[in-house]
Structures are given as C-alpha cells and as structure tokens.
C-alpha cells in the first residue's frame, strides 16, 4: 500500500454522478417536513433549475465528447458514453422523485393551506370567465401557431421554451387525416396566472393550460384531436464548458466549427402524451430515447419559485426572518480608521454586508483616496457598489473595475452596467483571455501622512448585496502592507501586465494556488510521519481535482486527520482502507447556500488559516484567477476555527459521505439536534440585542462629550 499512487479508478467518484447526489440532497430539503412549506416549494424549484443547467452545460458537453469520438475515461474510469447512460438512469429517477414530491406531498399541502394549482376542469365558472377574458386580451395576440407538413418544415423550437404539440383535422374530414401543429407558450407572459378565488384562498393556473383550452380558436375550421406540452433543451448557445480538460477543449472547438450546433439533447413530455404524438416529436426533433423524460405533472417545475413569490402574507410557510448583525461602528465612523486599528472579519449572512459597501462608499468621497480597484462578477444590476463606484469616478478618483463577462447565463446583465461604469469615467477591464476572473477583491489606495496606504477587502463570495443575504460567505477587511502590494500586483496582472516574481502573502491561481496547496498538504504529511500532530480541515463547494484528491489520500495514508465540508460535488471517496480512512466528508445543505471556502492546516501546532474564492476543481486551479488569503490575526483565526468546529458539529442539515458513497444524515439518537446555520443566526441576533443594551446603558450614564473632536477628524466629512 505504501507504493500506491492513489490513482485507481475505484478511488474516485464521477463528478456528474456526484453532482446528481448533491441535487438529491437539495430535493431532500423539499421533502423535509421540518422545513416551512413555501421553502420546500422553492427547494423543489431549485432542483429543477439546477437540473436544467446541468443538462445544458454538463450533459451537452458529454454529448459533444461522444460526438467527436473522445473516449478517454475520467478518473473513475467512465467514458463519456458510459457517463451519459448512468446520468440518464439517475436523472430519470430524480425527475420521477421530483414529481412524486410535487404531486403527493407539496401540492396536497398547498391545498391544505388554501393554495391551489388548478387544472381547467377544476375551475369555477367565474374563474373560467376570467381565463377566457385573459386569453382573448393578453395571450391570443402573441401566439404563433405553426402547422407542419411537407411544405412547411418543423419550426425551430426555442431552447427551454414550453410548447404545445397537437393533432388537428379538418372538421369535415376523418380524424385519421390529422395534421401536426405546434404552438409556443409565449415566454413574455408570466407562466403562473393568479385566479380570482374565494376569500382566504389563492388559486393559480398555468399559462399552457389556458392556451390548451383555447387551442381550437387558433385553428379555425379544424377540430382538435389531442394536445400535449413538451420542452426541448439544445446544445446551441453555450460555449464549451471550461470544466473539461485542455486537450478536449481544443478538440471540441475544432469539431464544433465543422458541425452545426443546436441538436436537441433533452426532451420533456407530459406523461399522458399519446404514442402517436410522441413518435412524431421523436422524429422531428431527432432525439434519442435516453434523453426523453415523461413527467407526471407540469413540465418545468421552476414555476414553483415564482408561485411562492406571489403568496401574500406567507406567515409560517416561510423561514422566520433573521436579522444580521450590523457593524454600526464601521458605518458611523471612518472605516479606514477602524481598519488601521486591526483586521476585521465578516461572516455573511449572519453579519451584514454593509461594511463592504461602506468601504466603497467612504472611499468614493474621502478626499485622501486616490484610487479604487475591484473585481465584479455576478453583481446585482442596481447594486449600491456600482452606484458608489460611479460616484467615486465623478469625484475624480481613479476607478478600475474588472468585470467578468463570462459568468454563466447573465452576460447581458453584466454588459449593461459595465458600459454605464465606463461612461462615468471608470476604467473597465474585461479580464484575461482564457482565464475567468473569480477572485473577489477590492483595493482602495489612500494618500496619508506617512505615505501611500492600501485598504483591501478579500472575500469568498461575489460583491452581490442580494445574494449576501442567503449565501454563507466570509470576508476580511485589512490594510496589511504586504497584502496590499500583492493586491496591487493582482490588479496589474489582470490588466495584462506580467505577473510579479512572487507574492508576499496572497496565493493566486492559476499560477501558484495548486502548488501552494500541495506544499501545505506535504507539510502535514511530513509532520504526521515525524509523529507531530497533523490535520487538514477544509470547506468548499466542490472537490473534484484529481491531483489534490490524490494528495489528500497520501496525507490520510500518512496519518493526517482530514475533515472536509464539501457542499456539492465530491469525487473523493471516504473509508477506503489505507487510502482514505482518515478522511471525513460532511455536506451541509440548508436554508443558506454554503459558499465560504476555508482551508486550515495543522502546521505542527501553529494552525495556518486561509480563506479563498476557489473550490478544489480543475477549473478553479487551472483556468481561473482565484485568490487564497491568509488569516494572520490570531483572534480572527480562532473565530474561523471555532466556526469550522461548529459546522462539523451540525447534525440537522449535515449529510455524511459514507464508504458506500451515499450521503446519510448522522444518527442523532440521544443527541441534541444542532443546526449550525440557525445557531449562527441566533448568535448574531443575540449579539445585536447585547449591543443595543450596552448602547442604551451607555447613553444613560455617559454624558455626550469627548466625541466632539470627531468632527475635525479629517476622515469625517
């Protein structure tokens, strides 16, 4: 076993199948009776949209591999075609479970809560009148029915749109002489239509059902034989997924130029569809049987999150609100002053994101600030950060913004505000060719009495004030000089200048991160071998890099204790004797999306703590600009270690990866339930209450003086 290279196929899980297991954990949340109803509805909707993206990106990519004849197996030994059939089997099973959850559990419970998703035959006369009127006024004008015959080819069905396929025949002819027609359910109209209802009840109908009822209006002189909904996904508009290996990328790119895209890779049809109609669709869309999904309910369950949003006064059907702890001391005084006094750690969403926005706000108007630089990736459209950056440019600050346009599916949104920033005089950089900029950092350059001083924010999550409410992320506000020089260098690198010969403190991917991690792991191995305590504790969204996994196996075999919190994909397998029996993998899936990345190393007794933007996936380590930053403040380090301990202790939303590669909730018999997300939210609230108390007490007993000199502080404008 000592000579093991840890590269046997059986040591690895396939990443796609591992991803499906993650989606299953989300689905579990939809099925968890302890979650409020509308939250369960949302979880179900999330599993559906997750799955859609999975098909469009990963499955499409695998199909490409098969098409170009790329048959190198992955680390777990599966070729692309084998992966596809395994995925198909698993996805069919999952979709069945989604609909069982919808039909047997959630729909029923919605009814019990006086929320109804109705079919045509369940509508009252008043509701029928409503939809008839609605159809004539809103829907009819935007419908484009298409007949298909030898003279009219099958129209291009829009990716991900819901369509109705039907057979119709002339009123005077026999049903056997039917014609095939298809109508797109317009995506400019809301899919979920609220119906008038009795007091206390909320009812909805889906747009496709309204259209279906009026289908014969579209084909005057015809009679309707049968109508059924379907939806296709194509591999048309997405670029090659960067997840795949370099040589594959090149191969696929070459092949794609030779081949027309737009093949249907996925077809959803309603379970009740006739063989005749489905055969017609198969024919026309040339889709293989493996990729057809017959669903027992409405196609595309993502409508559920929209529906949940339309419930007024949801009461206990949603999570009780949490109030984040707000660092008012940072908001009410000079944040630069506070940062000079010491590093500041932020843990979202338990602590508010406001200080980060405040840093940019104060920088935009502080007269000593010369320049602001930051990376923006997936920023919300009307983000206050963008507003302050514009302000800063207007105030004559040098503003440099690195905008990453390749964020999946929201390019258009990004380009708009990027152009707006440019107009106000910001320098907008669009990143490096072939490298997605994933690091999250902001840098403020200030001219002070003792020279140039840099203030930074480094984070594990995007500068998005909206997602900061439900993604768990960590951030550091610091003015450490060496990190400042490094941060400047990162921005210079992103502007296209040569990388510096070395970085002092920050660890940057793709140049240094992989080797630094491997070195850190090696140190633990050496420590374990020389009998010193050695451990690795890490938290990330995904772990799929073969090289890192092998290093972790080496470490486990050498006696290093390894605890991993991996929310999503995990290609590492636990409990393999002599290989991974010292590795523990937990996955927390709960109210908040676990998003922070933490890397802790025993380092022979002086724990090294890092936070990072990077997961341990090949793409993060090879083809992205990622940042790992050290936590040097002892108190903050302790806080992070404590947080890690707490997360490992969770026994409510945690699933443990077993040696059978299944995720199971820990056995809680005789133990007190501990939900770490709820616990931290509660702590934050208590902290707020304690601070309010002490402030009140202070106000009562301390005369308001001694604060007067604050107004002449040059930093206070």
């Amino acid at each position: 076993m000592a000579m093991d290279n840890f590269d046997r196929e059986k040591y690895f899980s396939n990443r796609e199948l591992s991803w499906l297991l993650f989606n299953e954990r989300v689905l579990e949340e939809a099925r968890d009776k302890d979650n409020p109803l509308l939250e369960r509805i949302k979880f179900l909707s999330i599993t559906a949209s997750n799955l859609d993206e999975f098909f469009m990106v990963r499955v499409a990519s695998l199909i490409d591999m098969v098409n170009v004849g790329y048959n190198k197996p992955d680390a777990s030994g599966l070729r692309a075609d084998q992966q596809l059939s395994a995925i198909s089997a698993k996805a069919h099973q999952m979709i069945n479970q989604q609909y069982t959850t919808y039909n047997r559990m959630l729909k029923k419970m919605l009814n019990e809560n006086k929320i109804h998703i109705l079919d045509i035959d369940e509508l009252s006369q008043k509701q029928l009148d409503f939809i008839d009127h609605y159809f004539n006024r809103e829907v009819y004008p935007v419908l484009t029915p298409m007949a298909v015959d030898s003279s009219r080819p099958f129209p291009l069905i829009l990716n991900k749109s819901i369509n109705i396929a039907a057979f119709i025949h002339k009123k005077d002819s026999k049903a056997s002489q039917s014609e095939f027609v298809t109508v797109q359910v317009p995506n400019v109209l809301p899919r979920v239509v609220k119906l008038p209802d009795r007091e206390g009840h909320t009812s909805f109908i889906l747009l496709e059902n309204i259209i279906r009822r009026h289908l014969n209006q579209l084909f005057v002189g015809y009679e309707l034989d049968e109508a059924s909904c379907y939806r296709v996904m194509r591999d048309m508009d997405l670029e090659v997924d960067e997840e795949d290996t370099e040589d594959l990328l090149k191969e696929i790119e070459k092949q794609l130029r030779l081949r027309e895209r737009g093949n249907v890779i996925h077809l959803d049809v309603e379970a009740g569809i006739s063989e005749r109609l489905v055969t017609k669709l198969f024919d026309r869309l040339s889709v293989s049987a493996d990729n057809v999904y017959r669903v027992n309910g409405p196609i595309d369950l993502t409508f559920l999150s929209k529906l949940a949003g339309q419930i007024k006064e949801p009461g206990d059907m949603v999570y009780p609100p949490h109030r984040p702890f707000v660092h008012y001391e940072l908001l009410e005084h000079s944040i630069f002053h506070a940062m000079r006094a010491g590093d500041i750690f932020l843990h979202h969403p338990y602590e508010s994101f406001d200080p980060v926005i405040e840093l940019i706000r104060q920088a935009s108007r502080d007269r000593h600030v010369l320049a602001i630089k930051m990376t923006l990736y997936r920023v919300s459209g009307n983000s206050p950060i963008i507003r302050y950056l514009e302000k800063a440019a207007e105030n004559g600050k040098q503003v440099t913004v690195l905008v990453e346009l390749k964020a999946r599916f929201d390019e258009e949104n990004n380009i708009n505000w990027a152009q707006k920033l440019e107009k106000t005089g910001c320098h907008v950089i669009y990143g490096l060719v072939g490298l997605k900029t994933h690091c999250k950092m902001a840098l403020v350059v200030r001219r002070e009495e003792d020279g140039i001083k840099r203030y930074m924010h480094f984070g594990t999550g995007n500068y998005n004030d909206i997602t900061a409410h439900f993604y768990t992320d960590m951030g550091l506000l610091t003015c450490n000089e060496q990190m400042g020089i490094d941060a400047s260098n990162v921005f210079n690198m992103l502007s296209g200048y040569s990388e510096p010969p070395y970085f002092h403190k920050l660890v940057i991917a793709p140049l240094w991160l992989r080797n630094s991690l491997l070195d850190l792991i090696d140190t633990e191995i050496k420590n374990a071998q020389s009998g010193k305590p050695a451990f690795i504790r890490a938290k990330m969204n995904a772990l799929s890099d073969e090289g890192i996994i092998k290093a972790l196996y080496r470490a486990s075999a050498a006696g290093v204790d390894i605890q991993l919190l991996v929310r999503g994909i995990c290609c590492l397998r636990t409990g393999i004797p002599g290989v991974s029996d010292r590795i523990e993998v937990h996955s927390i899936v709960g109210r908040y999306l676990e998003h922070s990345r933490i890397y802790l190393f025993g380092n022979g007794g002086e724990t090294l703590a890092f936070l990072a933007s990077a997961d341990l996936m090949p793409r993060n380590l090879n083809r992205r600009v990622e940042l790992m930053f050290p936590i040097e403040d002892e108190q903050i380090k302790t806080t992070i270690i404590d947080l890690f301990d707490l997360m490992m202790r969770d026994n409510v939303k945690t699933r443990v990866l077993g040696s059978d590669h299944r995720y199971e909730k820990p056995d809680r018999r005789g133990k007190i339930p501990f939900n770490v997300q709820e616990h931290l939210a509660k702590l934050a609230e208590q902290r707020t209450i304690r601070r309010d108390h002490s402030l009140r007490e202070k106000r009562t007993f301390t005369p308001i003086k001694g604060h007067t000199n604050e107004s002449i502080d040059p930093e206070d404008e």
Binding site: R447, I452, S495, P500
Partner: protein
C-alpha cells in the same frame, strides 16, 4: 483641517528590449510602492528587422498608457522615463519615441550605454548590503542585458574599469536562431561566437587584479533564478552552476520551459545567458555567483535619491567616473603629473570664478574629466594633439556620462589648446546651444590652466585667484623662472577674454 504632508512619490519608467518597467517609489520612506512589468518584443524586432514593428510599438504604447493610468492611481506627477541604449539601435527609434509621446504623453529620454550601466551599478550597490565590503577584493560585475553585456571591475574599494560587449542572450538567439535547425553542433557554434566576442576582454583586462567576487545583475534574471537558484537564496556556488550548466546544455528549450516553469521565450535565452556567464566566470577566480535583481528602474530611483542629497551610498560613484577617465588617460600614456597640476589649476579657477561663469557642480565634473583626458590625442600625434583627443574621447566610454556630456568633454579637449570654436566648426556645431556655451567657458578655463604648466615641469606650486573690479588676477607661487608660462599665458588668455569679456592677468 489638517493637510497631509506629501510624501514625495517618484516614478521611473524604463523601455527595454524585452520589458517595460514601472516602479513608483516613496522617496521619503525610500520604499517601492508599485512595481509593474510588461513584456515587449522590441529586441526581437530589432535583431530581425533592425526596426521596431508597428504592432510592437502599438502594444508598447498601450502598456505605457496603462503605466500612466497607474501613475494617476497614485497621483504621481514626478517621473523619469528612459529607453535603454540598446533600443536606440532601431532605425526608427526616433519615430518610436515621438509615437510614444503622442500616444501616452510620456517623454522618453534616450540613455547612453555608459549612463545606463552607471545607473544600474548604482542600483546594485544600493540593493546589495555588502557592496562596499565586497569591492575591497577584486569584484567583477556582469550585467547581462538582452543585447549587450557590461563588465565592470572593482578592486580595493575602487572602481577599476567598465567595458561594454555587444553580446546578449536575445541577440545571440536571434542571430544564431536560424542555424539551430541547420546544424548538429549548434552548441559549439554558439560557444565559438561567444568566445570570439569575449576574447577582446584580455586587451582591456586590468593587470594584477585577482577577481574573487562575481556579481550577476540583469533585467531578466527571473529565468536564471528559477533554473539555478533554490528558494530565495542570492548566492549560487560555482560547482552547482557548473553542474546545472552541463544539465541544461543537453535539454531543448521547450523541455527547460516545462522543467523550470518558464515561458518559452525566457527558456530559449537561458542557454546563451549561462554560456556567457560560464566563459566570463572562467576569467575570474570567483567561487560563487552573487545575484542582484536591481534593475535600471531602481537605478533611476537611486539617482533621484542622490539628487535629493540623500546619503544613501557609502561608495562614491562620482569617484568611479573620475577613475574611469583616469584609466583612459593611462591607456594613452598621458603625463600623469602634468595632468594632475592642470586638473588642480582648472578646478581652482572654476571654484574661484563661480560668479563669472555661473556653472554648476556637474559642469565642474566635466571640466575635471576634460582636464584628465585633454592630452590623450598625443598618443596618436603630438602635433595638433587636441584634434586626436577629440575623437578618442568621442569613442571612449566613460561610465556615468551621457552622450551629450561626452560631447562637451570632447569639445573642451578639442579647444583647450588652440583655435577658437566657431559655429562653422563641425564638432562644435553638433552640440546643442546651451552645451556650446558650457563647452566654451570650460575650454577657456582649461586653456589658461594648461598654460600654467606649459613647461610640464610643475614649476607653479600653487595659485591664488582673485576676481575684483572686473579683473581676474592669478598669482602663481613658484621658485622657478616662469617666463615660458607667462608668455604662453598671454597667448592663451585671448580666448578667455573672448569668452568672458575680461582679461586675466598672471602675476608671480
């Protein structure tokens, strides 16, 4: 409202054959605030087409415009932008300079090689803590640029000499690159080529200096460091160098690039660099190589610090310049004693007549150098030696001196003895107007200083100079008969009168 005391920020920008560098320094704190580098292919263009191509210029301008933006980020207004001397080899160098000015607003100044290397040496001294200890023993500093290298030798705490050799890894790669695919013994050809260029060293080699220390400096040492150094060490033993050299001899650049995680471009220059180093190392008895990554941009900053009268170096680089000139005069068998007395008289005159000429410290140095080099032409012919001195100075490299300054020195020497510079004299006309006046004034001073030792017997022990009521009186102290000197002085004073409008009188 308090105002923030401004720290003096200063930026240096250098345009080299392969890289553009920006360094922003806080001169008050004496620290580097920002260091940015960009790769350019100016060198490859020059060696292949003798021109810098349009795309290259365009790309460089974009990078330089980015530098300007970074200057703005720090509110820096004080900067010095220079182009390395090798960049000027491009036929279109002047146009490129103008394009840079138009596209970026940066005024790039051309550096003479001697000036560039001098700045570089200053930076090395500043960045190497032990520099002044090091040069107590024979020390060779080898500065490998892309297109040429500079050998500088120090001994017993003093500068000995400095020599430029047109030999650099990029030049070698571009010149010999085509041969690589055509011949089997490419390595041997490269060796022969390098040896042919380095052999000339022996003609210049200072006699009796045993070189114990070997300092490698250069703008792109990263490749070298990554390949030869372990960790952050700044010293590599000769043994280890030899071992690794044998190793890289046999490996093609693409494999080197992989092995040492280098860009291909750097890897392909590693062998020529190492080969140059090996052959130069053979000249010396050094047991190890010391590395310094100080670059020209550092040199400009150090120079700026010195201008601010910061006492940052314990080695006098002005002294190096003077030693460099003295070594040239020795090479041409000049009469050292005569030179010493003329030099003293000239500087004495300069100092006493400040009110009259209004020149500065740097001009004083030029006068001193001219005094040292005035008679080099006698090596060729005693008659009209000043004509020969002129071109000897023009083609000598005096470390730390710009081309314009060298022109001034050569003109001072040209007119130190006879004839009057006029605007139809071609040598004089080459000078910019402001420099002409300096050259004329200094030549007038040197001419009467020279007259004071016309017999070359150092009869005048010392002089006293007074400037009263528009009368310059020089009182010479001597035990000997000064008839010849007085006679000559009268003749030579005419030019002084022409320049300053005053007639000097010699008493004694």
């Amino acid at each position: 409202m308090r105002t923030v005391a401004r720290h003096k920020l200063f930026a240096s920008i250098t345009v080299g054959l392969q890289t553009l560098v920006l360094k922003i320094a806080d001169l008050t704190k004496m620290s580097i605030v920002e260091y940015v580098k960009a790769d350019v292919s100016i060198g490859a263009d020059i060696y292949n087409h003798r021109m810098i191509e349009f795309q290259t210029v365009d790309q460089a301008c974009r990078q330089l415009a980015g530098f300007v933006q970074i200057l703005d980020d720090y509110g820096v207004t004080n900067y010095r932008a220079v182009a390395a001397s090798s960049v000027q080899e491009a036929r279109n160098a002047e146009y490129v300079k103008e394009q840079i000015r138009i596209k970026t607003g940066l005024n790039v100044e051309w550096l003479a090689n001697a000036e560039e290397r001098f700045l570089h040496n200053q930076a090395v001294a500043y960045n190497t803590d032990t520099f002044s200890d090091l040069i107590q023993q024979g020390t060779m500093m080898i500065d490998i640029g892309s297109g040429s290298m500079q050998l500088t030798v120090y001994n017993a705490g003093h500068f000995i000499f400095s020599r430029n050799i047109k030999l650099g890894p990029l030049r070698i790669r571009e010149l010999l690159g085509d041969l690589e695919s055509k011949t089997g013994d490419f390595v041997e050809i490269m060796e022969d080529y390098i040896r042919s260029k380095i052999d000339g060293y022996h003609q210049f080699a200072p006699k009796g200096v045993a070189i114990r220390n070997f300092v490698l400096v250069g703008t792109d040492l990263l490749a070298f460091k990554q390949a030869f150094m372990s960790g952050s060490d700044e010293i590599i033993s000769r043994q280890r160098f030899d071992d690794l050299y044998q190793h890289i001899l046999t490996i093609p650049p693409q494999v080197l690039a992989k092995e040492f995680t280098l860009p291909y471009d750097s890897a392909s220059q590693l062998l020529p660099s190492a080969m140059i180093l090996k052959m130069t190392l053979e000249i010396t008895g050094a047991e190890s190589i010391i590395l310094s990554d100080a670059d020209l941009a550092d040199g400009i900053i150090v120079h700026e610090l010195l201008q601010m009268h910061k006492n940052i170096l314990d080695h006098s680089f002005t002294e190096d310049i003077i030693v460099s000139a003295r070594n040239i005069s020795v090479r041409y068998n000049c009469d050292t004693e005569h030179i010493n007395s003329v030099e003293n008289f000239a500087l004495h005159l300069f100092d006493r007549l400040k009110r009259l000429h209004g020149l500065n410290k740097r001009d004083r140095l030029l006068l001193q150098l001219a005094a040292i080099l005035q008679d080099t032409g006698s090596y060729i012919d005693m008659n009209a030696h000043y004509i020969h001195s002129y071109y000897i100075i023009q083609s000598s490299e005096i470390i730390g001196i710009s081309e314009n300054e060298r022109d001034i020195i050569a003109n001072i020497a040209r007119y130190h003895s006879a004839e009057t510079p006029s605007s139809n004299s071609s040598a004089f006309r080459k000078l910019p107007t402001t420099s002409r006046l300096i050259a004329a004034k200094l030549a007038a001073l040197l001419r009467i200083a020279d007259a004071l030792d016309d017999s070359r017997q150092q009869k005048v022990e010392r002089i006293a100079v007074s400037l009263k009521n528009d009368q310059v009186t020089i009182t010479a102290r001597s035990d000997d008969d000064l008839s010849l000197e007085k006679q000559t002085f009268k003749e030579k004073a005419a030019y002084f009168e022409e320049v300053f409008g005053l007639k000097p009188i010699l008493r004694g």
